[in-house]
Assembly symmetry: C2
Homo-oligomer: 163 residues x 2
Amino acid sequence: MGGEGHHDCRLDHCHGGGLGEHPATPELTNRLRRKSRRVTGARQAILNLLRTQSHPISIRGIFERLPQGDCDLATVYRSMHLLEGMEMVKRYEFGDGVARFELLRDGDDGHHHHLVCTRCASVVEIEECGMGQLEERMAAAYGFAAVTHKLEFFGICPRCQGV
Amino acid sequence: MGGEGHHDCRLDHCHGGGLGEHPATPELTNRLRRKSRRVTGARQAILNLLRTQSHPISIRGIFERLPQGDCDLATVYRSMHLLEGMEMVKRYEFGDGVARFELLRDGDDGHHHHLVCTRCASVVEIEECGMGQLEERMAAAYGFAAVTHKLEFFGICPRCQGV
DNA sequence: ATTCAGATGCAAATCATTTGCAATTAGTAT
DNA sequence: ATACTAATTGCAAATGATTTGCATCTGAAT
């Protein structure tokens, strides 16, 4: 397989259109190839955008931040499904009926939570979570398998308290 | 699925006649009056139906279980908003894009969680939750106020594992 | 019975998300 | 490069959950 050779990223493979400046990461390329999926400009653009975000972002948010005309809204939806299936992004739901996504970085299983301000929607990333034990206890007590959880915190951020 | 019913014997307060076949609880009446809202047949019917459910139920689910013609789907939506605002029901989101509601019984602050089967959607009610401390720590660490949380567990129930 | 703000039914409108389909393109073989 | 084929995309229309405008109706106070 791959080996330690120099990996070429075929950046020079752009045909006109508006998608010129989206370098593909070998990460993306590898994962896509593994499923005989294609490295398209839209996917690269989306992934590059996600790389600049430090908090979950909605699909509409992604679409609006993409250089206009870069790709269709439906394509963003389809891409996010694909990326989610490939475990390159993680989906969050904060209860407002809009899904938000975060890039899963190398070696990150994406297990963390959020503290969301119910007034201004600002977000703090929370690392700690003592749920592992509870999950196990739950599995034992009710016979469930593959127990996971979703945990999000809500409150009023310092700035909003002042208002 | 759970056969664990819940007895709530307040049905004896039927001021029969006049208002149709949906006895109002003094609880409902009081809370509504306090906000100059009206005790209508639809609201009574919905609340009575919720009283028979032991797990969160969707608005469509409520609508379909209501005697045909009892009320409009839009009315169920409106009623649930009202009841939620009056803290008589609690809203849950399990991530499938459909809100579900549970009746908040007397003296119940509704603080509990669920273990949801990702295959058959059966639900187990979970009482324990060691989040109180975490909430406090979170408030202290990030300066947030009124910190609450949403926590739900997902897994594969015993029956589905056998398949 | 009268009155009127709050409720409801019904249909149309929103919003997020999905999907059908014809046109386009990435990756690969020629 | 050229050709070829399946994966992708754009666009529009379809879904599905939830909301809303509006004319009509009703609860409850007088």
